[in-house]
């Protein structure tokens, strides 16, 4: 009995592994295929299995993962802000946010192609135009989604907008699949090159220009965004709505407009993330929003949902966890690792790292 059990357990484990492999390879193909980190990590896995890592090399290897993780984390952080802000203001998880990010990526790639067709070859200009176009059009999507799917449900029961969000997410996915096709969309690298250092020992640490741009742009956006929330009248109105929506209306805040603008801002940041992913990985498809969305959501929960610095920190941590997990354990299970973090956070610290339970003297 016991022995048989053991044998079947072994078989079961194999089966599970195979299933997960299939699932991750096929279902999440878009994300899996999205080259850079995965490629490096795959290479990393091969290495670790061969145990060729010496002392100095191990350090270099670690450094490379750090670079990859921070880059990935910047992207997750930008998406996570959209989740956390919307949750903060209307207490709803906008499950369609991942799709908004995906649309941002598509708008970027389309704009790149259009610019190529009309012969704009000066790269900094092209990047600026793509950035603006992605932000503007994606913002329009974010605004429309809120107006169509959530606005009419305000004041309804709590679950209603959530269900509507899932519907919106499915709709947007299928809409893009229909309009753009299901195939992976490749893009030629626009920004190439980078720095290489620590070349000794057979392992080179690479810091590409695109990685630098991603981290710098994200940092700038996050600083600007924090200032906007802390210092401007719009930011104050958003915080007021977050704390007491009825009272915000009583001092003359147009609550519906403020909520719409929150969606617009979240969509703009997601658009930037979409553009950066397009540049970084060079391939996108209609399904990338799902996985990136859930991971950014995990980042928001880990940081403390509703907390802006929490979303940034959570994004960074999830990026690092994913990179290091892929590098030192298993690429196949990198998504599983991230979702385990989500589950653990929800069980042991539902308020997240920087979230505060609402205790106020009233």
């Amino acid at each position: 009995m016991r022995i048989g059990n053991k044998a079947s357990a072994g078989g079961g484990r194999w089966l599970l592994r195979a299933c997960l492999r299939c699932l991750l390879r096929d279902r999440f193909r878009g994300a899996e295929r999205s080259g850079n980190t995965t490629g490096l990590a795959q290479q990393a896995e091969d290495r670790s299995e061969a145990t060729v890592l010496g002392g100095v090399e191990a350090l270099e290897y670690f450094l490379q993962q750090l670079i990859n993780g921070v880059t990935l984390g910047a992207i997750y952080g930008l998406i996570a802000i959209g989740y956390t802000m919307v949750y903060g203001i209307i207490g709803m998880i906008n499950f369609a946010h991942g799709e908004v990010y995906m649309i941002g990526a598509f708008i970027s790639i389309i704009t790149f192609i259009v610019l190529g067709l009309i012969g704009v070859t000066f790269i900094p200009l092209a990047l600026m135009v793509v950035l603006l176009s992605a932000m503007v059009f994606t913002a329009a999507y974010g605004w429309t989604v809120e107006r169509v799917a959530y606005g009419p449900l305000r004041g309804s029961f709590r679950l209603a907008p959530l269900i509507s969000a899932i519907g919106m997410s499915l709709f947007l996915q299928n809409y893009v699949q229909l309009v753009q096709g299901a195939r992976v969309k490749p893009m030629q690298p626009v920004i190439t090159g980078g720095f290489e250092f620590f070349q000794g020992g057979g392992f080179t640490v690479r810091l590409s220009y695109i990685q630098i741009i991603i981290v710098l742009l994200t940092t700038a956006l996050m600083i600007g965004f924090t200032m906007l929330i802390q210092r401007t009248a719009l930011g104050r109105a958003q915080r007021a709505c977050e704390q007491d929506m009825g009272m915000a209306a009583l001092v003359g805040v147009d609550v519906n407009r403020t909520i719409s603008l929150t969606f617009v801002m979240g969509a703009m940041l997601a658009a930037v993330a979409g553009m950066m992913v397009t540049l970084y990985y060079g391939v996108i498809d209609f399904f990338i929003g799902f996985l990136a969305g859930v991971k950014a959501f995990t980042a928001a929960v880990l940081g403390g949902i509703g907390s802006l610095p929490g979303a940034m920190l959570g994004g960074l941590l999830i990026g690092l966890i994913e990179a290091f997990w892929s590098a030192y354990f298993s690429v196949e299970y990198k998504d599983v690792a991230v979702f385990v973090i989500l589950v653990l956070t929800l069980i042991f610290k539902p308020t997240g790292l920087l979230g505060k339970p609402d205790i106020e003297k009233v």
Binding site: A249, L250, V251, K361
Partner: protein
């Protein structure tokens, strides 16, 4: 200035107000007293459009505001210090005042701030502090101060004395008298503390079970036997 004509309000199937008629004239302090659950707070909130009146009309300076959205009503010149104060707890005192000035011209923000700090000097000392950490009395002052920041022509106050020490109540009521006498501010005051409210007010209404059952000048109501029996005896 404010005319409430036959206003009814319901929460779902429960009707809270049954055809209430109230008139507030320019420069007056009018008080509305009544027991718990009489519908006083509901009436103030209905004036601000949340919940909406299900019947009757609310006129502010001869404009029907009963269908206007809340923020429009505030823009027209009505400000409220609502029940439970409802200051924004995770904002500083100054930010709360900035929120109060949402519909005001930013050009006279400093001037309005000075005016509020003059009325409530403690707020000046605490202006960088998070509002959630203020004491109950300070929060009430902030709530009134915030309402004044929009330069309203009509000020709605919902139980400003609730849960406060007698000294603080005295201070708050003297400020209400002050802004009425010196600046001619029209005040509509909802109170359970009937004695103080009637002494302060020019006129008063008594609300019971969603209906106006008595009205008169402050002095008349103070002398009224039913009012004394129901709201004053054994209390204050």
């Amino acid at each position: 200035m404010l005319t409430i004509r036959g206003v009814s309000t319901s929460y779902g199937h429960i009707q809270a107000l049954h055809g209430v008629d109230i008139e507030v004239r320019k420069g007056e302090i009018v008080t509305l007293i009544g027991a718990n659950g009489a519908g006083k707070t509901t009436l103030l909130m209905t004036i601000c459009g949340n919940p909406r009146a299900t019947g009757g009309r609310i006129l502010f300076e001869d404009r029907d505001i009963s269908q206007a959205p809340t923020f429009e009503i505030v823009r027209m010149g009505i400000a409220q210090a609502p029940e439970g104060r409802r200051i924004f707890p995770r904002m500083t005192v100054l930010e709360n005042l900035q929120m109060g000035a949402t519909v005001a011209d930013p050009a006279h923000f400093d001037e309005d701030c000075t005016r509020v700090f003059k009325l409530f000097p403690i707020l000046d000392e605490r202006k960088a502090q998070r509002a959630g950490t203020l004491s109950g009395g300070e929060q009430q002052m902030l709530s009134i101060g915030r309402a004044l920041m929009s330069r309203p022509r009509l000020l709605l106050l919902d139980e400003p004395s609730l849960g406060l020490a007698p000294m603080i109540v005295k201070q708050i009521f003297s400020v209400i008298r002050d802004i009425n006498e010196r600046e001619g501010m029209t005040v509509f005051l909802v109170e359970q503390n009937a004695f103080h409210a009637l002494k302060l007010a020019h006129r008063g209404y008594v609300l019971a079970n969603g209906r106006v059952v008595l009205q008169g000048t402050g002095a008349e109501l103070l002398a009224n036997r039913e009012v004394r029996a129901a709201y004053l005896e054994g209390g204050h």
